[in-house]
């Protein structure tokens, strides 16, 4: 297991943030801490993710929340409300 977390962005988030995935060191205890770090990248990241009341989160393919804890090897996904079917 690498000492990283794998982050995925889907749909409008992927387009707005200009990337589909990235790897970061596994140095965040919770999703909230990770979001705070990402928001440091600028206003756009802050608006799309941290301050987005409709932000959807999954950790290792399970629905998660900002309080969900993270560990090395985790896959974290951020995406807007789903619209399939």
């Amino acid at each position: 297991m690498d000492n990283v977390i794998h982050i995925l962005y889907f749909a409008s988030f992927r387009e707005q943030l200009g990337q589909a995935e990235e790897r970061l060191p596994a140095s965040y205890a919770t999703v909230s801490e990770l979001l705070a770090e990402l928001a440091e990248r600028g206003e756009y990241w802050k608006t799309v993710l941290l301050e987005n009341q409709n932000l959807q989160i999954a950790v290792n393919h399970n629905v998660a929340s900002r309080e969900t804890s993270l560990k090395a090897g985790d896959e974290v996904a951020f995406f807007p409300p789903v619209t399939g079917g």
């Binding site: 789903v82 619209t83 399939g84």
Partner: protein
Amino acid sequence: MILDSTLTPFIKIQQHDFDLTTEVLALRQGHKNIGAVVSFVGTVRDINEGDEVTVLELEHYPGMTEKALEKVRLEAHKRWSLEASLIIHRIGSLHPEDQIVLVVAASQHRENAFFAAQFIMDSLKTNAPFWKKETLPSGEVRWVDSRISDSEAQKRWKV
């Protein structure tokens, strides 16, 4: 850590189209006590939010999608006495009148099949990581907004 998505022939995420008769027959195979088969087919409408739609692009989150759908399917089997069920969802570029999604629920008596199919669709609409992007005749491309009525519909099942 990522768990393998549940391997099941009853969840299919695919680009190609599906055939209703073929899928229902395959699902019924070997279940002689099935008396009721409810199928839902979702199709691409030519108009959305008052605008003509020329292309509908379906994106999903591979791995999580299968897991979320299998969870919904098993929950439906637990709540209603289903003999068999199936979910197929297409991804990629679709056009008006194309089939998008198929849900089939089969049971001994019709009430269970009806409720289960409706439950699976309501749950899929709110829980399965799919996103739609539509192209208008002008060339404008926009992400489809989630419908409030979908999360309202899901609430009645008290998941």
